[in-house]
């Protein structure tokens, strides 16, 4: 069976990474085309990609291309999904599909009508450690789940320009944590309470966002959850997870580039956590694309789809409402009222 022909739409930092992963690490995929208004043609040529376009239609109109990877800016995701679905192409789309639940539902409807697959880029679900945790937890190793904890802290605060168009900490950053809680627990978030603060950079506050947050939540299975977020650790990308239950607990720690420990009069010193998500989730980024391509080739359902994006965005909307209105918010309430994206 020949490799699945893929086109990549949008070549920013993530787009480059996905393209390189497809070319180097997913043998069942053949990247035929990349399209981006600001395309680095030399980069694409070096990767041996035959079609290098600035116009997305070049990808969408190519009958040979079976699947597309959408990593264009978030605001364009839904339109691109609709067009790709209309062109009968399977779709891998970066998170969040959209900030508005209704837009995600529209995207879902478009792929359902077209009969194509839509996988969403919740990369953590493909991380070997978190998969192992999922197996342990869902296999009953911790018994009934009582508490889940996610620590999610970036190494360095993003530029304020990014903050302004990111949708805010809850939509851009904590969205992974909402998905991780759902993934690990196999349950839905019923209610949450979010408290945010501007402690890293006052400019983030002026842009209407927060840079530090604590979110507590209740799940449908009765368990409680805690998420803590910070935009800046200064010691690397801090990603820790814990699931605690009636029979015990499982914990996933940070990973490091090396395992060397040096001891001296000044202390016992080991590596800091990986500096960015690219290094921390290197295997996950490859595995999610390999899984997507496998789903396409074997006609299997995707492991993380629009329904998951919808649930995570609803949680993000509820968290923002909770923070702004200073009260616990039911997710059922957020279904009716959540708008997404920018807030003033």
């Amino acid at each position: 069976m020949k490799p699945t022909t893929v086109g990549v739409i949008g070549i920013g930092r993530i787009g480059r990474m996905h393209t390189e992963n497809l070319v180097h690490a997913v043998p069942d995929a053949h990247v035929k085309a990349v399209a981006s208004p600001r395309l680095d043609k030399a980069w694409a040529e070096n990767l041996g990609i035959p079609v290098r376009a600035t116009d997305v239609d070049v990808v969408l109109d190519d009958p040979e291309i079976e699947a597309v990877v959408i990593t264009a800016p978030s605001g364009k995701h839904v339109e691109l999904i609709r067009r790709a679905a209309a062109a009968r192409k399977h779709i891998f789309c970066e998170k969040p599909v959209a900030f508005e639940p209704q837009a995600i539902q529209q995207a879902q409807a478009a792929v359902d009508v077209a009969g194509v697959k839509l996988q969403v880029g919740f990369n953590r679900r493909f991380d070997p450690s978190l998969l192992q945790m999922w197996l342990a937890v869902r296999g009953g190793k911790v018994g009934e789940i009582h508490q889940l904890r996610v620590t999610n802290r970036d190494p360095k605060a993003p530029p304020v320009d990014f903050v302004k168009r990111s949708g805010g900490l809850f939509f851009d950053f904590a969205i992974h944590d909402f998905d991780t809680i759902r993934f690990l627990s196999g349950s839905e978030i019923v209610e949450l309470f979010a408290v945010g603060a501007v402690l890293v950079d006052p400019e983030i506050g002026k842009a209407g966002d927060v840079d530090t947050a604590v979110i507590t939540l209740r799940l449908a299975n009765g368990a409680l959850g805690v998420i803590d977020c910070s935009r800046q650790t200064n010691y690397g990308y801090d990603q820790r997870f814990e699931v605690f239950g009636s029979k015990g607990s499982t914990f996933v720690d940070n990973t490091t580039a090396t395992t060397m420990v040096s001891s001296s009069k000044r202390g016992v010193v080991a590596d800091k956590p990986h500096e960015t998500f690219v290094e921390r989730y290197r295997e996950a980024f490859v595995a999610e694309l390999a899984a997507f391509v496998a789903s396409v080739r074997e006609g299997l359902p995707v492991r993380v789809g629009a329904a998951d994006a919808l649930a995570a965005v609803r949680a993000a909307g509820a968290a923002r409402t909770s923070h702004l209105e200073h009260r616990p918010v039911l997710l059922s309430e957020a279904v009716q009222s959540a708008g997404g994206g920018q807030r003033q």
Partner: protein, 341 residues
């Protein structure tokens, strides 16, 4: 070192621990222990006077310091009686579960001019004290987050649950004190989610056994506490303080420091079983600090006001749980009428 003569009220579990620690402590003479329910047959031995009557300790002019280790409902009465008798007081937490009663007691102590230390032993745990020092020395920079995981190894008997004042008053009060101690800041607002997941009987008794609590502190930082009445692998006591320069974390302590590698995996030791094991040293150090503050005529390191502030957070957390909304701690404090004279 000037010797100090001490007496103890209450010879239950914690009273015995304190008594044994004081007996082994240089510069302190334990003269008498009173407990109406103890038989004192096997313990503490002939060197220590024993009595069923607390007055025998409270009225003894030789006794300079009294350790109140009786059941919680008698803490305030004994603390006031000892203070009126001119004795310095070490009282187990909480002084009372009613803020007005605590305020009245603190007032009596103040008028009596004696010292009052409250049994927030975790402040004196060498590991947690090191975390506090790191924060105070600026090693983590400005504090952004305080995170505490506190889980007991086994749920208490239901009779205990009924008389405990609830999980927040009985258990989480230590964590609230740690949040204040580690951050050097006050809890301004608290929100609590609670659940009954360990033992339905705890729910029937009107309490919870699992909680996640978020807080906003007056210095702007945020804090989280995770509680459970039952971690089957042992007493789970971890803290983390994260700030502008980095974070510091304290892990569980274990009976030994081994790792067993085999086909079955890499096996680390379980945590020390419960608070008597885990906080053994802190119980000694807190009393050393108490007697040192008497000798040096200094304010004790964990005073009555710390107990009151922790209790106010407990009350706010309880209210939050009932009303499912964030509750401001200081409003609760000012809403309570000042005692009129």
């Amino acid at each position: 070192m000037r010797p100090i003569t001490a007496g103890i009220l209450g010879a239950g579990r914690i009273g015995k621990i304190h008594a044994n620690n004081v007996m082994a402590m240089p510069g302190v003479r334990l003269k008498a222990i009173a407990d109406p329910f103890a038989d004192f047959k096997e313990w503490p031995g002939p060197a220590i006077a024993t009595s069923k009557n607390p007055e025998d300790v409270l009225k003894d002019p030789e006794i300079e310091a009294v350790l109140v280790c009786s059941p919680t409902p008698s803490h305030a009465d004994f603390t006031e009686a000892a203070a009126r008798a001119g004795k310095h007081v070490f009282c187990e937490k909480p002084i009372a579960v009613d803020a007005e009663r605590v305020r009245a007691t603190l007032e009596t102590v103040k008028r009596s001019g004696v010292k009052l230390q409250e049994g927030f032993n975790r402040r004196f745990d060498p590991t947690f004290a090191r975390v506090r020092r790191a924060v105070a020395d600026g090693e983590v920079g400005d504090v952004h987050l305080v995170r505490i995981t506190a889980r007991d190894p086994a749920a208490p008997p239901i009779e205990y649950v009924k008389s405990s004042g609830g999980m927040f008053a009985d258990m989480t009060i230590h964590d609230f004190d740690m949040v204040r101690f580690l951050s050097g800041s006050e809890v301004e607002e608290v929100h609590a989610y609670g659940a009954v997941l360990v033992d339905p009987a705890i729910g029937v008794a009107g309490d919870i056994d699992t909680a996640v609590i978020s807080m906003r502190l007056s210095n702007g930082a945020l804090a989280i506490i995770e509680n459970s009445r039952q971690a089957v692998f042992g007493y789970d006591q971890r803290i983390e303080v994260f700030g502008s320069k980095g974070g510091i974390e304290a892990f569980n302590e274990t009976p030994a420091r081994t790792v067993l590698r085999s086909r079955a995996g890499v096996r680390h030791e379980n945590p020390l079983y419960f608070f008597l094991e885990r906080y053994q040293r802190s119980f000694v150090i807190e009393l050393e600090a108490f007697f040192a503050s008497i000798r040096g005529d200094r304010e004790p390191p964990a005073g009555g006001n710390d107990g009151l502030m922790a209790l106010l957070v407990v009350l706010a957390a309880k209210q939050s749980l009932v009303e499912n909304r964030p509750v401001r701690v200081e409003k609760l404090a000012s809403a309570a009428p000042k005692k009129t004279r």
